[in-house]
């Protein structure tokens, strides 16, 4: 039995409180930023060349004036009829101009009617004073969006860990894996967070509203309205607030029901005379996996891809799945090592750790494969409405974008490649922490560019949001862990798991 010590309990509650306080502080400070403050800020930034993030640019038009235009092919009309602008490929694709600014601009909705101003380079439109105001307002909205986006990123990240673990657990059940039953209670404890975590994601999405999900502005599908956007209007059948919430509740209901019954059968099996509960668990796990792979994909469109409502990618669901799967497995490994260090789970041997580390290694490579498949096709095809996604990230998010690749691929690949290292707990912990940081950055890269544009950072808002959800995650998971014995003792495969060696 694991006992959730008072110290840890207090620690996680303090994390939650500090996180909440920090977040409200960042919220109120960002919402006191008015249009005049932004203008001062922008003036300062242009005085310093490009303030902020190295190669990122302050006002959109500036970088175009300074950035070398290799060819003039794009000097003509850069505005397409729709909101999607055209991306111009220069010899070097990294110089391709970001239309995402324009894209983000739609976030601001209120105020400036002609969002096209944000986009154009090669035109003189933005020389006028009106544009200055529009741009300042746009930046102000991005600054206002940041606390919401930070909260949403952290909420989703911790939820994703629990959901990834649930999928891993379902796979173990459905495949009747013999090595893993010793770890079932650890997995069940982590998946305890699926329901509260998922509801919180929905709640944060609901509260954030247009701060994160631009399409939640109903005027965007109102013909004749100044915020009207043809593409978003075309998607209104799927992308509407009530649909979003109903679907979210259906996904969560399905996952939580599976989790509830699987846990129930798993506990019932402990004191059972026969294997009926085990078999029931096998059946519902197989059904769950089918449900999961559809709903996970749809969830990734709803909860993540829709923050860029113009952009789409067909393998996005898989990509998010890889991210959550590897994060989930990593957390299973970390908690197992933690419990072992407390002298619990003494039957878990280094072969179990070896297997978990193999999964961490393998799924990290799988994640990279999907990341690259998505990136390479879009980069190669260079279709404007697709490529803006990467242009923004490469122009404005160079460090997190490429840093994430280093943390999620190169590092685990090299560190976990050697078979012997997969058995050394501190090696797994080190690689695991890096993988988790990397996948936080992955979620960050998915949400931030669409919500705060180049106004990103890692400050009070992000740190306190992480603290809040980390505390809540710890509280839920360790509480669930302390509720039951740590070994599923009557599982028919437990003997195989006990003797598992590689």
């Amino acid at each position: 039995m694991y006992t959730f010590s008072k110290r840890l309990k207090i620690f996680s509650i303090i994390l939650i409180l500090l996180g909440a306080i920090g977040w409200f502080m960042s919220y109120s400070s960002s919402h006191h930023v008015g249009i005049e403050d932004v203008k001062v800020l922008l003036a300062e930034e242009s005085a310093h060349g490009h303030g902020g993030h190295g190669e990122t640019h302050a006002p959109a038009e500036e970088s175009h004036d300074t950035g070398a235009h290799h060819d003039n092919a794009h000097g003509t009309d850069t505005h397409s009829d729709e909101h999607e602008g055209t991306a111009h490929s220069h010899d070097d694709s990294t110089h391709t101009h970001a239309d995402e600014h324009h894209h983000n601009a739609s976030h601001t909705n209120e105020g400036h009617g002609d969002t096209h101003h944000e986009n154009g380079h090669g035109t003189e439109l933005h020389e006028d004073a009106h544009h200055g105001d529009a741009h300042a307002e746009h930046v102000m909205h991005q600054i206002h969006n940041r606390p919401y986006a930070a909260l949403y990123v952290a909420a989703f990240f911790f939820f994703m860990i629990a959901l990834g673990t649930l999928a891993f657990y379902g796979v173990q059940r459905a495949s009747m894996a013999g090595w893993s039953p010793l770890l079932f209670r650890v997995m069940e404890a982590i998946t305890y967070y699926v329901l509260p975590g998922g509801l919180l994601v929905l709640l944060v999405a609901y509260i954030s509203d247009t701060h994160v999900f631009i399409w939640m502005n109903e005027n965007m599908s109102l013909k004749g309205h100044e915020d009207y956007d043809k593409l978003v209007a075309g998607k209104v059948g799927w992308l509407n607030k009530s649909g979003f919430m109903i679907r979210g509740i259906i996904y969560l209901a399905g996952w939580s029901l599976y989790r509830y019954f699987s846990r129930k059968f798993s506990l019932a099996q402990d004191n059972a005379e026969d294997d009926r509960n085990f078999k029931k668990n096998f059946r519902i796990s197989a059904a769950f996996l089918v449900f999961y792979i559809y709903t996970e994909s749809m969830m990734s469109w709803d909860w993540i891809m829709s923050v860029d409502p113009h952009w789409f990618s067909t393998l996005f669901g898989w990509y998010v799945f890889a991210s959550m799967f590897v994060s989930g497995i990593t957390v299973i490994a970390l908690i197992t090592i933690y419990l072992k260090s407390k002298g619990l789970l003494e039957e878990v041997n280094d072969s179990h750790l070896h297997d978990l580390a193999k999964f961490m290694f393998g799924i990290s490579v799988f994640w990279t494969y999907l990341w690259f498949s998505q990136f390479m096709l879009i980069w190669f095809a260079d279709i404007p409405e697709e490529v803006t996604y990467y242009v923004t990230r490469i122009e404005d998010y160079k460090l997190p974008f490429f840093g994430m690749l280093l943390l999620n691929f190169i590092f685990p690949f090299l560190v976990l490649m050697n078979s012997d290292y997969k058995r050394i707990p501190w090696f797994i912990v080190m690689a695991g922490v890096i993988i988790l940081i990397g996948h936080y950055m992955d979620v960050y890269n998915m949400i931030m560019p669409a919500t705060v544009g180049d106004r990103w950072g890692f400050g009070l808002a992000e740190i306190s949001a992480i603290a809040f959800f980390a505390g809540l995650f710890m509280l839920c998971v360790l509480y669930a862990l302390s509720k039951e014995t740590l070994v599923a003792k009557r599982n028919p495969l437990i003997k195989e798991s006990r003797h598992f060696h590689y």
């Binding site: 490929s89 010899d91 070097d92 694709s93 990294t94 690259f372 990136f375 390479m376 980069w379 190669f380 095809a381 260079d382 490649m417 050697n418 078979s419 060696h501």
Partner: protein, 177 residues
């Protein structure tokens, strides 16, 4: 000159074989070779064989493959005859790297897989038309054969082996290689 006399102990079950191997190793006897119809998990460890170094070889071969792919494509696609494919940067390997990654990956895998197999054959001294070393064809079906060299301890070994559940114990004069 070592004696070329060996004992061939034949088993019909891999679990029995495993416990026999453990028993022999516990009594500090050297096992020359074991012939099995299928890979027996954990046998190498029980026999006290040195761990395989094929993984290190595989890594090196992979690096060679990656290098070959990079050099080859850099020469073909960048230096020798830069081609404009879909307007992609054709004068810089680095900037056009994403389009080369699939080939870099494939050649890495290709080199490490093929060279690993070749290494394995060479290391096991197998090549085409080689006469089989297998002393008993039944080991390709359902029998396990353990070969133990005799150093004047014939009786002792025979007694020990018959205790371990061997179904047949033969003393063979091994032909010199």
């Amino acid at each position: 000159m070592e004696s070329t006399k060996v004992i061939h102990a034949i088993y019909t079950d891999d679990d029995v074989l495993m416990s026999a191997v453990k028993k022999l190793k516990a009594e500090k006897h050297h096992i020359e070779e074991i012939y099995t119809p299928f890979p027996v998990h954990g046998l190498d460890k029980a026999m006290g064989l040195a761990p395989t170094r094929i993984a290190i070889a595989a890594f090196i071969y992979g690096c060679i493959g990656l290098t070959v792919a990079t050099t080859m494509m850099n020469f073909i696609m960048i230096e020798d005859w830069p081609q404009n494919i879909g307007g992609k940067p054709s004068f810089s390997y680095l900037e056009n790297m994403p389009s080369f990654v699939p080939i870099m990956f494939e050649l890495t895998v290709f080199f490490s897989a093929h060279l690993m197999v070749i290494t394995f054959y060479l290391r096991s001294r197998m090549w085409p038309f080689k006469k089989a070393e297998n002393p008993d064809p039944r080991t390709t079906d359902d029998h396990f054969l353990m070969e133990i060299p005799i150093h004047g301890n014939e009786e002792e070994l025979q007694a020990l082996l018959s205790q371990t559940g061997a179904v047949e114990i033969n003393i063979v004069d091994k032909e010199g290689h």
